[in-house]
């Protein structure tokens, strides 16, 4: 059987399964379409934080805060490029549009698995979509609990930002020094909290005693150049 056919078959299967799952869900959470800015951003927020049972999970409040600070990294890349830096240096794009900030660099780019296809349509890696569907199934089963609360938070956060540019409090805004290194304030990158992940360049790891680790993620500020 040609590989293309197998791939098509599995895509159709996944699509059918998704429709069936959507029909059966009790709808504790109404998740917007991933082709909209709100849905794409909310999917990213869900994908990046730990849920109960996952490595890195601390608490619901910690995962809420992780979503908040991830959104603010994207916001900082749009509105707060520090003096002597270019947006390209910080975000691998010259665009100040949120969607372009997220999808910069493609599939293996700034946000792994969140990209535009060749025709410019928003796409999410199969693994991220599978994870989201799995979490939605749990969230929509029975009474709303932690899973539903976390997904609801992602949607509300994304919607408030896209519609009204409403932002949560930035816990890294006032950072001026990390150990001996002067920094710009704000976080400009986040990554899974493993020692082998580091964005490199002038990004400075925000340590534990400055709350730089949230829900399995590590946040990074920028070295001050002026």
């Amino acid at each position: 059987m040609p590989p293309q056919f197998i791939r098509l078959k599995y895509n159709l299967f996944a699509l059918c399964a998704a429709f069936i799952a959507m029909g059966l869900q009790a709808q504790n959470v109404n998740f917007p379409s991933r082709t909209t800015e709100t849905g794409f951003l909310a999917a990213l927020l869900v994908n990046e934080v730990a849920f109960p049972g996952e490595r890195g999970y601390i608490s619901k409040a910690d995962s809420f805060e992780a979503m908040n600070q991830i959104l603010l990294v994207l916001d900082a890349r749009i509105f707060f490029i520090p003096p002597q830096y270019t947006r390209y240096q910080v975000a691998q794009t010259t665009s100040d549009r949120l969607i372009n900030i997220i999808t910069a660099g493609g599939y293996h780019g700034q946000v792994e698995g969140f990209y535009k296809d060749d025709t410019g349509n928003l796409r999410i890696a199969a693994r991220a979509e599978e994870r989201l569907q799995y979490l939605l199934r749990i969230a929509n089963d029975g009474q709303p609990g932690t899973f539903a609360n976390l997904i609801q938070h992602s949607v509300a956060l994304a919607d408030a930002y896209i519609q009204n540019l409403r932002k949560p409090e930035n816990q890294f805004e006032g950072l001026r020094q990390i150990r001996e290194v002067p920094v710009t304030g704000r976080a400009y990158s986040w990554m899974t909290d493993r020692h082998y992940f580091h964005p490199g360049g002038n990004f400075v790891k925000i340590p534990n005693n400055m709350d730089g680790a949230l829900s399995g993620n590590r946040f990074f500020s920028l070295r001050k150049l002026y």
């Binding site: 590989p3 197998i6 791939r7 599995y10 996944a14 849920f51 109960p52 049972g53 996952e54 490595r55 890195g56 999970y57 601390i58 608490s59 619901k60 409040a61 910690d62 691998q92 910069a104 660099g105 293996h108 780019g109 700034q110 792994e112 890696a125 199969a126 693994r127 599978e130 994870r131 799995y134 979490l135 749990i138 089963d141 029975g142 609990g145 932690t146 899973f147 150990r179 001996e180 990158s189 990554m191 899974t192 909290d193 493993r194 020692h195 082998y196 992940f197 580091h198 964005p199 490199g200 360049g201 790891k205 340590p207 534990n208 680790a213 590590r218």
Partner: protein, 278 residues
């Protein structure tokens, strides 16, 4: 006489708890501390991170302190922060102890597990805030050297599930091009009581597959989280000298990919199977 019996029973119970690594004694009996060091030695340490020549120090120290975190209601998990000065390393440990009502799962780790381990060239910390354990340096490095090839692997039931979930995850991601090879081969990395990570190297597809969760992988519910806690690393596409090189912060360094491969191939267990990927 009855009083003596009660004391004897209590003493036996206490000894039993210690041998089983139960919470009253863990984490830092020597057995756990040595296993933690061995895990870090295997997965995180290298010549470049050692701050001193091991022959020039008398003691290897482990400093630890409890970290209080605001947890969900009913969550009794514990967190420890570890400093290992000889490697300028800061390690976060968690002993998960909470319930997920939605999934009817109780997570109750027997041992503390490594959540993260970071080497800092400029690690600064206040020893007064930590408890200290001190070991003879020669004893530690002799132990690490002697046990460097010791291996523990998951049981057959876990290996079977690892295979099934790997195939599912690879298929979901569209990695199907090597599934028709008549023989499928791979390596499972050794496991440790201080980590919930499972690493597998799939030779045919040149992929590293990694499963993890707050649950121990011997727990059958570990696989409940397989769709959530899986990473696939494409060795042909995602390995670089430095992540900044391609503007891909999620890329793996050649150094770390090499370390995973070393643990899979040199220390690991080879598995092969006729193509059975339907």
């Amino acid at each position: 006489m009855k009083y003596l019996q009660v004391i004897l029973i209590f003493a036996l119970l206490t000894a039993g708890q210690s041998l089983c690594g139960a919470k009253a004694k863990a984490p830092f009996d020597d057995q756990y501390a040595f296993e933690l060091l061995r895990y870090l030695y295997r997965w995180h340490m290298d010549d470049a991170v050692l701050s001193v020549d091991p022959r020039e120090i008398e003691k290897v120290e482990i400093h630890y302190r409890t970290i209080d975190k605001a947890l969900d209601e009913g969550d009794h998990s514990e967190f420890l922060e570890i400093i290992i000065p000889v490697a300028d390393m800061l390690v976060m440990l968690k002993r998960a102890d909470y319930r997920i009502p939605k999934l009817d799962i109780q997570i109750d780790n027997e041992y503390f597990k490594v959540v993260s381990a970071h080497h800092y060239r400029d690690l600064k910390w206040n020893p007064e805030k930590y408890q200290r354990l001190s070991y003879d340096s020669k004893r530690i490095f002799d132990y690490l050297y002697k046990t460097r090839n010791d291996k523990h692997f998951p049981p057959e039931s876990t290996r079977q599930r690892l295979k099934e979930e790997s195939i599912r995850a690879l298929r979901a991601e569209g990695y199907i091009e090597n599934f028709d090879d008549p023989v499928q081969q791979g390596y499972i990395a050794p496991i440790s009581i201080v980590s919930n990570d499972l690493w597998f190297y799939w030779i045919n597809g040149h992929k590293l597959i990694h499963f993890t969760s707050d649950l121990e992988h011997l727990d059958s519910e570990f696989w409940t989280f397989a769709p959530l806690g899986v990473d696939i690393i494409d060795l042909n596409e995602e390995v670089v000298v430095a992540p900044a090189e391609r503007g891909n912060p999620g890329a793996f360094t050649k150094d770390y990919a090499g370390r995973i491969l070393f643990n899979c191939i040199v220390h690991g267990q080879k598995v092969s199977d006729k193509a059975d990927t339907k």
